[in-house]
Point group: C2
Chain length 320, copies 2
């Protein structure tokens, strides 16, 4: 048997078939190349058709299909909302895949849910029942596994941790991102750097430029490696917020593990011991002593592995 | 059929039998009167024996028993930790009740879990699958229902929301309580008032006293009603923190309802609209638009009703 996993990103589509033990059997990927709306749906259903027929030829038929989507999978109306895919406000992806799936069970999960499922199946949280993936990239989100179940909330929008309130008073500029994301996402790091530069007119280092639009997350990380004083201040502030957010997750969820991932972790992985130290100050002391903070083991493949595990879990649920 | 619910508090023990529809059939309560360790266990098992035999006489036999405990019920080793009951670091309450229970299924839940179960069964969150009870009293804790299940965490200590980090930097004085509880629990309100009095030597109002130990939560509430400037400042700060905490719960859990309860709500109930307003600024906007913030409908009975519902749920689970 094979599990067909599909990971839809903002710019590319990846697919893999897995054995039930989490071993990759085949892999494929294709760029979206500006496709939108039904064109993206067509790309996915073509890929599904191709993968199903290939697996059939290999005499290893696919028993379940799952898709990781960059947004929200609404389990009540089976529609997908994906802000970075044009015309996917309420896209009937499940129906489209089922139409070509020949009766194979299909499930669709948000990317953040897939990240933690992937790490629990074959990554840094292997075997955990209570674990959280904190994804810090362009945006910030959390995939939360509680008692072996994905936390969805009443409208499938649980885990919106970018909106965490970590320092009063409220400022209008947090409005489109949430306070935590405003300062500590990839873009947030740049915003924080700009604020600090503005407050330090005397600073003449590498991050000062006549054109402030050239500032990037990568540049702030590079300056940090070179011990630039503003970059050091930026990450000191980020570590404090990341640590508080981790502590808040620990106190509320009492998880076995929290996994830091996304584009920023990545380069921020060496900061994990300091984030842990900050979290330990704030969190419920027993929970904080018992949890493990780790970097993602699967990196950019977390969503794909997570879709594989979502397919397996759905298959097992139906078998019972 | 009857469900036997027992609510163990720090100073008293309450019991009720419920019909499966949540109607109280009998009620009883007894003071702990300084009992500790096995004496408290004996009080509970005597009450169970008495209630079982009474129900038997009425030809309405008890089919399930549940106890709400003021602490943690560890489902892995079946021991109870209750910090306010002397010698209950790891108390074998389940075993003791089962020994007198004649084979009737017994379940033990933390008080905060029972609060939300009670409100979901017969109170302000009736019928919800995703709802949270924020209990603000001497301490602060949250009972969390997610997807119809109580959130327990890896070690049954989920919901320790008193430890929420809401304003950096960390201060050593938060160590024994957590930052959120340090300032906004019943005792926290007094602490916050003392800090503000210290910062305002010019203030000569009703909260100023030669003996600062006479300050109480009740006095701060009374001064607030009389528009005292320090008390107004205290609750302005509390509303900001309560609102941030509610927003953080909304962004993380996407619940249908959050119920404010405990000794402080109570007198702080009229502040709920302002807390909602503060939460609305910070939280994930769709989740915040969709959730309802309400005061407890069951007040001091929430734990008892919750134990009744825990008994019913356990009975139904076993029947299946």
């Amino acid at each position: 048997m094979r599990l067909l996993a599909i990971d839809l990103g903002g710019t590319k589509l990846a697919a893999a078939t897995f054995t039930e033990h989490g071993v990759v059997s085949t892999r494929d990927s294709v760029l979206l190349n500006g496709r939108k709306g039904r064109q993206v749906g067509k790309l996915i259903t073509d890929l599904v058709t191709e993968q199903l027929s290939f697996a059939e030829q290999q005499a290893e038929p696919v028993v379940a299909i799952a898709v990781s989507v960059p947004g929200i999978s609404n389990v009540k109306n089976n529609m997908v909302w994906a802000p970075n895919i044009p015309e996917w406000e309420a896209y009937p992806l499940l129906r489209e895949i089922e139409a070509v799936g020949g009766g194979i069970p299909v499930t669709i999960e948000s990317d953040r849910s897939c990240y933690i499922l992937g790490e629990v199946w074959q990554g840094a949280a292997k075997g955990c029942q209570d674990a959280i993936y904190l994804s810090v990239g362009t945006g910030i989100g959390a995939g939360i596994l509680a008692g072996g179940q994905i936390l969805r909330g009443a409208n499938d929008i649980a885990g919106a941790i970018g909106w965490l309130a970590l320092r009063p008073p409220y400022q209008d500029r947090y409005k489109n991102h949430g306070h935590f994301e405003y300062y500590t996402s990839g873009e947030g790091i740049v915003r924080l750097c700009r604020e600090l530069l503005h407050a330090r007119p005397d600073y003449k280092g590498v991050l000062r430029s006549k054109d402030p639009s050239v500032l990037s997350t990568q540049k702030v990380f590079a300056a940090f490696k070179a011990d630039d004083e503003i970059a050091v201040q930026v990450f000191k502030q980020c570590v404090e917020y990341w640590g508080m957010a981790v502590a808040n997750l620990v106190s509320l969820f009492n998880p076995e593990k929290i996994i830091m991932g996304g584009g920023v972790f990545g380069p921020a992985i060496p900061l994990i011991p300091e984030i842990y130290k900050e979290a330990k100050k704030w969190g419920q002391p027993i929970s904080t002593d018992l949890f493990v903070l780790a970097g993602s083991a699967l990196g950019a493949d977390a969503g794909l592995y997570g879709a594989g595990y979502a397919a397996l879990k759905n298959f097992q649920r139906i078998q019972h």
